[in-house]
Structure formats: structure tokens, C-alpha cells
Amino acid sequence: MALLAEFGGRAPQEVPERVDSMELAWLAHVLEQRHGWPLDDDALSRIATVADAARLLEGLRAAER
């Protein structure tokens, strides 16, 4: 949620549940640049909501451990 809120400088409560393509571009960028997690479009195309994004991040963290 905090990562998505950074897009457009929003408060977390202003982040809509549904994730749009621009927010996906932002997520792809942040995950690649800051965390070194390159994501393929297949993984990103499965993200439609904030909850989907949270699940993906959990999976990436678990894989890193």
C-alpha cells in the first residue's frame, strides 16, 4: 500500500482498491530499481487489486528468504 501511495504522493487511504496500468508501471519500476526484483509482464498482469499486489510482494519476499 505504501509503495502504491508513493505514486502521485497520495495518502495510503487515497489508494483505490483497483490497480490501474500506470500504477502497475510504477510497481514494476520500484520493484526493479529498489529491490532488484525484475518482474515479467505475466506476473504483473495478474495484479488487479491492492490485495493481489500484496500477495505478489509476499511471494517475492518468501522466495528471497
Binding site: A28, H29, D41, L44
Partner: protein
């Protein structure tokens, strides 16, 4: 049509002369496809470049297939494909057949697309065999075309291109442009200082379905001998990789969202071939402009235009921000704070929007002024409810009408803050989830409200109209939440 001699010398043919009427289909070969056969002209990500010979062959093949599907000279087609080589060749093939092509955005819902097709009544519809997968935006998509013949109507008039624009009072405006209109716009581009020239390169992030990416990108590049590249992925890295892929002086074409995206790169590589970027669609905030110029050290130019006319005014070197210089051959004036642009005839094919044109002038619905001494234009913003979402025009009135038309909704107000938001009172039995579901079928994702605020009661003015002030609506949201919380407490206390 402008003086042919005014166009700069390049490897392409001179622009044909035509009166205000139509050009024959040979304009496609003469203006767009002419050039050395082995010369690469289009680049789609990592795919092999498309040469002029290759492009001509593909266009001829698609023209034959369209003919087999029943498309004739004077006929009509609608193309609903994502940005792709297939979109380019289908469009050029329609025009080369002497038919009218309507371009529909691939992001429209099936409901919106069907409504558009009912209105346009094309004889052949070109769609993609498979829908575009979700995910972040891409510069181009794999597309395989499916042609469907329909009992439509032939083109009624000389128009080559038809596009729909969001309607502020209900129905979308149907905008028609003739081949001569498009050629005249190409002539304007050829005469604007700062536009890429023969031997240079453009990396376009703007969709070729809409006027900036179509005429300012695709058609200008084909006409002027500029190599046009579409990046694989529209991320900062993807865009910069596309710039680095060729040694030629390279210009980026996009909308302000792409500036933000490029600004995310913490340490962009030095790319000596990058000469600048041009944006359209909406004005660029001063801090965004400065951040881009600081980070990349190249010029950032701005274009102002509209679907009906194409490019109207530019400041491609960022020399007069926020003012723009009218494009050569176009007149711009301000009347009662609204900008008007010269247009020989109404661009609208039916009654929707017709009142905006009179006596050779088209009302832009943009507020602004024209400096009497310099002739430069200052655009102040929309006078109606149109907003820009990632460079795409969305009319909030159309969104609000769609929300209000749902049986689950009693009243609604739609506003645009950082995203499109709907404040609504549900009808008995309605739920927010059901409203979301219904809207997903009726509005393309970029037009849909991202936030739904359900109110117990709509705040209204003394005359009964819904209040549109954000603070009053936010207070109504808080009141509704407090009432729900109190009801829940009372329920749990029993």
C-alpha cells in the same frame, strides 16, 4: 492545402495539392509509403525492423484481404486494435483502398465498442484475435487481425479518418478528417522548428490510435523519412533502451505521464543521441518540466492540439513556456476567454458537437488568451468537464451519466482529484460492489471511477442540485461513516 514548396526537402514525395475536398487513395503511396525500399522505417521493440518494401508488401496484402471481406472504394471500416504493426498496416490498407477508417481504442469495453459500431455502421470491422493481456502499459502488442463483414453503410462524405471523442452532454462526438486534412497537418509538422527530420529517429510512447501518436508520430515519420520506434515496455528502462537502440538523433513523443515515468529513473544513462522530448495531451507542470530537463539535459517541448484539428500550437524548445506559437497556417483567437481555431468546415459528422463550429471557426472549449503583440497562445484549461487520465481524454459528464443510468444508483456526482471519484447514493437493494461490476461492463478502465464513496444522503443546493464541492461531499462521507458506525455499535450492544 499549403504551398508544397514550403515543405522541407526530404527523401519523401512532395505533398499533393488538393482543394478542400478529398484526395484519391494514391495519397497513401505518394505521401506515406514512398521511399527507398530497403530503408527501415518502423521498429517494434526487439522485432526485426520493417523496411519500406516490407511495409508496402504488408499493406498490399491487407488491402487484398479487406477487399475480399467486401471493403471497396468509398466503403467504411472500423479498426479496433492495440498499438501494433497490424494496426498500422490495416489503417494504411483501408486508406489505400479508398475507404474510410474509424479508429476505436482497444481499451473500450465490448459495450462501448458495440455502441460505437452501431453509430458508425462500418461495413468491415477489424478486431484482434485475442484481447490484450493485462499488466503495465507496453509500447506495442502482438496483434492478429480478424475481419468481420457487417451490413453497414458506405462512407457518407469525403472523410478518410473517423475518431470518437467523449461527449460532454451524452453522445460521443463523431469526428471526421479528410485525407487533405491529414496532409495539411503533415505540412504543418514539416514547417514547425524542432520536429524530427529525415534521417532522425522518434521513439513514440503515444498511441497511434489518437491524434498525437497517429499524425505527430506515425504519419509524420512515414512522410518525413523519420525512423519510428515503439518500445517493448513503457518503463523508464524500456524507453531508454529503445532510445539507445539506434545511433540517430532521437526525439521522444509522449504525454506528461511518460515524463513522470522517466523521472523515476534514479540515474539515467547518458544517451548522446537523445535530443529532446515532445509532449501533448495536457500541459506539463512547471516542476515536472524542470525535473526532466535537469535529469536528462535535453529540451522538453510541448504541443497543443485536438482530435478535430490535430496540432494547433507548439513550443518545442521550451522557449516561451507556458505560451505556445500557433502552427503555420492555422488561425487562433480568443473570444470571451475561449480559444477558437480556424477550420474550413465542421469536423463533426452528425449533430453532436455541430454547434461548436461556425463561420470558419471551431470552439475548442479550452480557456485561454492570445497575445496581441506576439500572437502566442496561453492555454488556461478546460471550460467543460473534460479531464486527462494518463493523456487520454475523459469527459466526467459521460462518466456521471453512465453511473446515474445504473438502476442501483439513486444520485451521483463524479469528480476528478488525483483519480476519478464517484460520490453516490445507492437505490434500495444496490451495493457498491454491484455498481463496480456494472461499470466494468460499460466504461473502459481508464474512464471508470477509481474510488466509490457511498453516501446516506446527497448534499444539495437550495434549488435541489447536487453539491459538487469536494469538502461538502467529504463531510457527507464522514457523516455516512459515523452513522454506519453508530448503527453497528447499537446492533452489537443489543
Amino acid at each position: 492545402m499549403k504551398d508544397v514548396a514550403a515543405a522541407p526537402a526530404n527523401s519523401m514525395g512532395a505533398l499533393p495539392q488538393a482543394p478542400s475536398g478529398s484526395l484519391g487513395p494514391e495519397w497513401v503511396d505518394e505521401v506515406l509509403l514512398r521511399g527507398p525500399g530497403g530503408e527501415p522505417c518502423l521498429f517494434f521493440g526487439a522485432d526485426d525492423p520493417v523496411t519500406r518494401d516490407g511495409l508496402r508488401r504488408l499493406v498490399q496484402e491487407r488491402q487484398a484481404a479487406l477487399g475480399a471481406a467486401g471493403l471497396r472504394r468509398g466503403g467504411s471500416a472500423a479498426i479496433r486494435l492495440a498499438p501494433s504493426l497490424e494496426l498500422v498496416v490495416q489503417l494504411l490498407a483501408c486508406w489505400r483502398a479508398g475507404a474510410r477508417a474509424a479508429l476505436l481504442d482497444h481499451r473500450l469495453t465490448p459495450f462501448e465498442a458495440e455502441r460505437a459500431l452501431e453509430r458508425l455502421a462500418p461495413q468491415v470491422v477489424v478486431t484482434a484475435e485475442h484481447p490484450v493481456p493485462g499488466g503495465p502499459p507496453r509500447g506495442h502488442y502482438p496483434q492478429r487481425a480478424v475481419l468481420t463483414a457487417r451490413p453497414g453503410r458506405p462512407a457518407e462524405g469525403p472523410h478518410a479518418l473517423v475518431q470518437l471523442s467523449s461527449g460532454s452532454t451524452g453522445p460521443a462526438k463523431v469526428i471526421g478528417r479528410t485525407a487533405a486534412d491529414l496532409v495539411a497537418e503533415l505540412d504543418r509538422y514539416a514547417r514547425i522548428d524542432g520536429v524530427p527530420r529525415a534521417g532522425e529517429r522518434m521513439v513514440s510512447l503515444a498511441s497511434p490510435v489518437h491524434v498525437l501518436g497517429l499524425v505527430g508520430g506515425l504519419l509524420h515519420c512515414l512522410h518525413a523519412g523519420v525512423r519510428l520506434a515503439f518500445p517493448e515496455r513503457v518503463t523508464a528502462r524500456g524507453v531508454l533502451d529503445a532510445v539507445a537502440a539506434g545511433p540517430e538523433p532521437t526525439t521522444l513523443l509522449g504525454v506528461p505521464f511518460h515524463l513522470e515515468l522517466l523521472g523515476w529513473h534514479p540515474d539515467p544513462p547518458r544517451l548522446p543521441q537523445l535530443t529532446g522530448m515532445t509532449t501533448g495531451g495536457e500541459p506539463v507542470r512547471a516542476e515536472l518540466h524542470e525535473a526532466f530537463v535537469d535529469r536528462y539535459g535535453v529540451r522538453l517541448g510541448c504541443m497543443y492540439g485536438m482530435t478535430e484539428v490535430g496540432v494547433i500550437a507548439t513550443d518545442l524548445h521550451g522557449a516561451h513556456r507556458p505560451e505556445l506559437t500557433p502552427a503555420p497556417g492555422l488561425g487562433v483567437r480568443a473570444v470571451d476567454g475561449e480559444l477558437l481555431v480556424s477550420a474550413a468546415r465542421s469536423p463533426y459528422l452528425d449533430d453532436a458537437g455541430a454547434e461548436r463550429w461556425a463561420d470558419g471557426w471551431l470552439r475548442t472549449r479550452d480557456g485561454g488568451s492570445v497575445d496581441a503583440a506576439t500572437g502566442r497562445v496561453l492555454v488556461r484549461g478546460r471550460l467543460d468537464s473534460q479531464v486527462s487520465v494518463g493523456g487520454l481524454k475523459v469527459d466526467l459528464t459521460e462518466v456521471e451519466h453512465t453511473v446515474l443510468a445504473l438502476p442501483e444508483v439513486e444520485s451521483a456526482v463524479v469528480l476528478h482529484g488525483s483519480v476519478i471519484e464517484a460520490y453516490l447514493v445507492l437505490a434500495p437493494g444496490g451495493t457498491a460492489a454491484r455498481v463496480e461490476e456494472q461499470l466494468a461492463g460499460r466504461l473502459a478502465a481508464y474512464k471508470r471511477p477509481r474510488l466509490l464513496h457511498v453516501l446516506g444522503q446527497m448534499p444539495r443546493t437550495a434549488t435541489g442540485k447536487p453539491v459538487r464541492e469536494r469538502s461538502a461531499l467529504a463531510a457527507a462521507v464522514a457523516t455516512t461513516a459515523a452513522a454506519a458506525s453508530a448503527a453497528a455499535s447499537a446492533g452489537s450492544g443489543r
